[in-house]
């Protein structure tokens, strides 16, 4: 990782203003967004948006041509180009020919993308941003940190300092007063400007209309007062039909700012008369800048559906800690990582792609139905493909995949007391997700006997009517064999015999999440062979990350590598795979399993593991089971926000992982419950390790499997 990248993370983390403000904002956002969407079928709505935008992405050329024809028929001049340099030159030429001295702009990320302001300023033209946030960062000489709220990283004190300097008068930090100052300062600029530059939120091919969605009213002035209006529109903004704007107008304000509709929506179709009776000179630039390449990519074309609402930033546990600037200069957050990889180049995303912890929170709220974490994984995969897996990592995978050796080394290291001695680099980096390098978290003791050996000593009842293959995964196998024992106990009680095929190995998640798809594919093949060799009714796992691997990612890995051989088996395995809580819930519902009656076990709170909730959608079963067993559920604040574990993430970016964990610990403690349950051994490791180092009465951290096993009837 680049040194200056690490430094920019440190700077962001040490900026208490930033993390405090973003934290508060993201909390409020969640509540307000939910309110704005009340009574709306979000899945249906985003299905519509995905289909409208997906259609446009696969018909870009046709729609661009149609848009140009229709807009030109109405009198607009339309310029289509692939090249950002040509965009800049075109605008400068129009400005020069008309003798333009000053320009006012409303917010446009596309102009940020091509660094238009500095180009025009160099040519001696005055360029004024008029969106309040954009103006603030223009005055500060910064770049936007958020697509919707560009100056979200600044405090009112910083803004008042900037404004005071600008108007040469000492201002207080009273926000309404600062807003007034902006109004008064910018008004004369609007009135004198010779040209207005705007973006466009949508461009309708069948009518040649552009649609602008704003709140401040500056876009109305930018498009109405100056005699020349240039709209710079990325071709991803095209939609086929005018009526396609309905679902986008429904979702964009709700997702962006939790409004039912923004204060202003302007639909411009051809030029209209200026106030002096002359006709407006209206130019619309359709800019490609690698968007059509993106649309032609079978995987990344999904990103063309983005409506730039920034809700993926607002819910991202990483963004709310580090803010936007760590991500780069133009597009920030999860989607920004993807856009940067394309509009800039793949290499530019090398560091920032690592910021994503793959929690899936963004995917849940994206109104364009974009699987942002999956696309970031694909970036990782391509980076590895291009640049290769670092040697060090390669040797780690070799060890991880040899189960006995891996366990032996981990065990040796954990016995040595100071795990992973600092002496040799290799050992220090060895245990991908069993790292000790974070402050504020203790490493679990490595079990003296791995589950694979414990299993051989368990006697199961004879003649059970069903069979389940148990997939252990690294953590249960090596660190928490007792979870495996509990699982066997429960399933036996329900009449299910448990099999543990020895040939099972790492689920491949660590390799996959690091872009090493070849390694992950090998893991997938080994596991498929081992797990399908036994005839069983289920393949069950008590680790959601492993379950997701078996259930989805083996297939996805094969597909993205174009390996067809094991696909049918991968599908067969996926069909049999079930997570622990869902299986147990089913057995309870079928009357095959019950808990001791009349138990009052006291308060418990439940932490949602990312994969269990957002990929497997199985968050209700464990809650219901725990309550059935006699616990009184007391929900914590932000129960479904990531604990900061993220596999090897906590090792690579401990400075980000640690504060996320601290926040989780606080939310758990605040419930007053003496116990917290979860369904993922990774989360148990992270949260238990964190609790361990906390002052005061510790909260017990347990996997649901153990809690349930203790309450079985009979």
């Amino acid at each position: 990782m680049q040194q200056d990248f690490k430094q920019s993370i440190d700077r962001a983390l040490n900026n208490a203003n930033l993390t405090g403000a973003l934290g508060k904002f993201s909390e409020a956002y969640k509540v307000n967004r939910a309110k704005a969407y009340e009574g709306i079928d979000f899945e249906e709505l985003r299905g519509k948006i995905a289909s409208v935008k997906g259609y446009a992405a696969s018909h870009l050329e046709e729609l661009s041509r149609q848009f140009k024809e229709n807009a030109e028929a109405k009198g607009a001049k339309v310029f289509c180009t692939k090249d950002p340099a040509q965009v800049r030159e075109y605008i400068l030429k129009v400005a020069k020919e008309a003798g333009v001295k000053s320009i006012v702009k409303s917010k446009s990320m596309a102009t940020e993308e091509i660094h238009l302001n500095s180009y025009l300023e160099k040519a001696g033209i005055e360029v004024g941003e008029t969106d309040l946030g954009e103006w603030i960062i223009q005055l500060a000489g910064q770049t936007p940190s958020h697509m919707v709220m560009p100056a979200i990283h600044m405090t009112k004190e910083e803004v008042s300092d900037l404004f005071s300097k600008e108007i040469d008068e000492r201002l207080s930090s009273d926000i309404p007063r600062l807003v007034k100052v902006a109004r008064n300062e910018l008004r004369p600029k609007f009135l004198k400007a010779d040209m207005g530059i705007s973006g466009g939120n949508m461009a309708c091919a069948d009518t040649g209309s552009i649609v602008l969605v704003t709140n401040e009213g500056n876009a109305r002035l930018v498009t109405s007062l100056p005699k020349i209006h240039i709209a710079l529109v990325g071709i991803e903004k095209l939609v086929a039909h005018f009526s396609d704007i309905a679902p986008i107008l429904k979702a964009l304000p709700r997702s962006a700012t939790a409004q039912l509709l923004t204060s202003y929506v302007s639909i411009i179709t051809g030029p209209t008369l200026n106030s002096d009776g002359s006709m407006k000179d209206l130019h619309i630039i359709l800019m490609d800048n690698r968007r059509s390449e993106m649309a032609a990519d079978p995987i990344f074309k999904e990103a063309m559906q983005c409506i730039r609402c920034a809700s993926c930033l607002n819910v991202c546990p990483i963004f709310r800690l580090v803010g936007g600037h760590v991500f780069g200069k133009v597009y920030t957050g999860g989607i920004g990582t993807i856009l940067t990889a394309w509009y800039d180049e793949l290499k530019s995303s090398e560091d920032i792609q690592g910021l994503c912890i793959q929690c899936g929170a963004c995917k849940d709220v994206c109104p364009a139905k974009i699987d942002i974490p999956a696309l970031i994984m694909e970036i990782r995969r391509r980076l590895v493909q291009k640049e290769g897996v670092p040697m060090l990592q390669k040797s780690i995978y070799a060890v991880v995949n040899n189960r006995r050796l891996f366990h032996g080394m981990l065990r040796a290291a954990s016995i040595a007391g100071k795990p992973f001695s600092r002496g040799t680099k290799f050992i220090r980096h060895l245990p991908m997700f069993l790292a000790d390098l974070t402050d504020g978290r203790s490493l679990p003791a490595i079990a003296s006997k791995p589950f694979r050996d414990v299993f051989k000593t368990i006697t199961q009842p004879k003649n059970l009517k069903e069979k389940a293959v148990f997939y252990g995964g690294c953590l249960i196998d090596f660190a928490y064999p007792e979870m495996g024992e509990a699982l066997v106990k429960i399933l036996n009680k329900a009449g299910v015999e448990v099999l543990f095929p020895e040939g099972q190995t790492c689920c491949g998640a660590p390799a996959r999440y690091n872009g090493a798809y070849e390694v992950a594919a090998q893991n997938a093949e080994d596991n498929i062979q081992a797990l399908l060799a036994e005839r069983a009714d289920y393949v069950v796992s008590a680790c959601p990350t492993c379950t997701v691997a078996l259930d989805h990612e083996f297939i996805a890995t094969f597909e993205s590598l174009g390996r067809k051989k094991y696909l049918p088996q991968a599908r067969e395995l996926a069909a049999k795979t079930i997570d622990f809580s869902t299986l147990v819930k089913k057995l309870v519902d079928e009357g095959r399993l019950s808990f001791k009656e009349g138990q009052h076990l006291g308060k418990i709170t439940y932490h949602d593991s990312c994969h269990l909730k957002r990929t497997l959608h199985a968050e209700q079963s464990p809650r219901q089971l725990l309550q059935k067993a006699g616990y009184e559920l007391s929900e914590m604040f932000e129960c479904d926000i990531c604990c900061g574990m993220g596999g090897s993430y906590s090792l690579k970016l401990p400075e980000i992982s640690a504060p996320i964990l601290q926040r989780k610990l606080k939310n758990i403690k605040d419930t007053g419950a003496p116990m917290v349950a979860m369904d993922c051994p990774g989360c148990v490791m992270q949260i238990r390790g964190g609790m361990d180092q906390l002052e005061g009465a510790p909260v017990r951290v347990q996997h649901t499997v153990e809690l349930l096993a203790a309450q079985l009837k009979g």
Binding site: A21, A28, K74, T130, D131, L132, G133, I136, M149, A151, M154, K156, V159, I175, P176, L178, V179, K180, A182, R183, L186, R187, F190, L191, C204, T207, S209, N215, E216, G217, N218, R220, L221, T223, S224, L225, F242, S243, I245, A246, L249, K250, T257, Q259, L260, L261, T262, S263, Y264, V265, S266, I267, I268, T269, G270, P271, T272, L273, N274, S275
Partner: protein
Amino acid sequence: MFEQFKTRAEGVSAEVHRFTTEAEALAFLVDFLRTEGVADAPGQYAVVADCPFLQSIDRQQLEEVAGLWLEVTRDRAAAAKVGISQMDWALADTGTLVQDASAIDKRLVSSLPIIHVALIATSGLLPDMPAWLSEAHPETAGYLAMITGPSRTADIERVLTIGVHGPERLIIVFVDQLGGTN
């Protein structure tokens, strides 16, 4: 629909009134302008964009208000406290007003002054955006404008602040018997 509109519009800080006749609406308007201190001085003007409402009322009552202009220019609009225009549709589920704003006057009076008074025929109420989109004709209207509440920003510390570049007050006046629209 009106009640829903009113709730939604008030929810975004607009003020909503409703009158049966044009005469009542006019009386309200004249009184409002007086209360707001409209006068023949820069910063205190009122500007009115041409609209059907003007055709059917006793214009003299308006013309008697000092500082009120029926001929809108950029400079007058920029120096006005109140801008008055008539809207074409109202969308109940979001509290939104919609207007064919192709005529620049309509945009000047609704974007430059501090207060925007929006007149609307009650018959222009529609349930929602899709209903409007099926009626809209962008091919014959160069500039369609939707307005939902006054101008706002949350760009400084995400604190909602009303009145940035556009009006800080939006007064919506429904008139049940308003002829000549739609």
